[in-house]
Symmetry: C2
DNA sequence: GCATCAATCGCCCAAAAGAGGTATTTCCAA
DNA sequence: TTGGAAATACCTCTTTTGGGCGATTGATGC
């Protein structure tokens, strides 16, 4: 069987990209035949390439590495993504993991550390700090919310199974108004009824 | 301000319980005034006690530590739980974290490691191995499912916003039958309409 | 063999929801 | 200051839901 781990790199800095590529390609058990300087070219190619793991720079020009990862991961769930960052910024690491990354690496990581990390991800792990771990455990992916406060309030009540009248009573509104809000919720979430609204809202972690 | 970390212990082995208690209570910054030999007594008391962190043995006689944690955590989300295990069994650790635990400790852990671990959890971290981390990232809590396959199938369609007729068409049934299934879903989930059904189903990870 | 349950189909009827409008006020930002 | 959300309120109309009934079939289990 082929134990070699096949990598691709997405990194705009030529020097870093080539250096990483050389380190990896020069190590037994690793190969790195593909390297991209930006998200667009990566998006166009990586889906069709025989790669196990993609090293993805977070700070790419244009589309951010997180966005590129989200897209690629959703289309190629079998590929693992390791994010590259200059400094360990909790928030972007967290976002990366939620976007589908399996790990992250600081750019100044030593070559042996780098290879260890890659191996660990390849073996099905997700090395992460305990702070990040907690955030992953607690919440899960928070997507930007198109709904107003009022709409959120009403949406939650829909999830409790309340009808127009009960919601209206609870928040001292006319049922007509509640109805209007709900209609607006539907249009913002692009759904056509309560069940679908709740489904979508939860899947996007609105509630 | 009071920087002392207040702990409680749930552990059936007298020796271990007392040893842990003494180690913790003897360390500056830590106090452990409460110790329980089983889940039942812990369930009865811990909700009313001023504790920050509970050390919970997984292998308790009677109710498992995981179950006890699930229950206590849902009623006292402000308390953190650290599971104690004899050996690092991926699966039960994973289940523990899903039940609401924030960390786990091997019983043979050294005292200084123990205190470090507790401190880390207290500071909002969740120390975990990379294997566990990946499992947490990927899936999330699977609860036992009271619904039949047919009901699940229909429930998912409800989430897509389909109505009786459309569902019936899709799965080649009479709309009456679909209605009956949905009624049964309601009764099993203890809900009264679609929105609430979807909400509850997702929250319990049925869909 | 009997109980139970999942799955299937049906009817009636009241309540609720959803799809169209229209319209006023408030408040914030450009 | 003007334009645009957001929040508020109302109307009409059709469609959909959900509750309350009953009933048959087939599989599974004790």
């Amino acid at each position: 069987m082929d134990q070699t781990i096949h990598l691709a790199i997405v990194e705009d800095d030529n020097e870093i990209r080539q250096a990483l590529c050389m380190i990896i390609d020069g190590s037994p058990g690793f190969t790195c035949k593909y390297a991209f300087p930006d998200g667009e070219s990566a998006l166009a190619s990586i889906g069709n390439l025989p790669v196990d793991i993609v090293l993805m720079d977070i700070d790419l020009p244009g589309k951010s590495g997180i966005e590129v990862t989200r897209k690629l991961k959703s289309e190629n769930p079998e590929i693992d993504f390791i994010m590259l960052t200059v400094q360990s910024d909790d928030d972007s690491i967290f976002k990366s993991l939620c976007a589908g990354a399996s790990g992250y690496l600081l750019k100044e990581t030593s070559p042996s550390n780098l290879l260890d990390h890659i191996r660990e991800v390849y073996m099905g792990g997700s090395p992460m700090s305990s702070k990040i771990a907690r955030r992953i455990i607690n919440s899960f992916r928070v997507i930007q919310n198109p709904l107003s406060n009022r709409e959120m309030e009403i949406l939650e009540m829909l999830g409790q199974g309340l009808n127009y009248k009960d919601i209206a009573k609870d928040i001292f509104l006319s049922p007509h108004t509640v109805k209007t809000h709900i209609k607006n919720i539907y249009s913002k979430l692009h759904v056509k009824n309560r069940a679908e609204a709740i489904y979508k809202a939860i899947k996007q972690n609105l509630i």
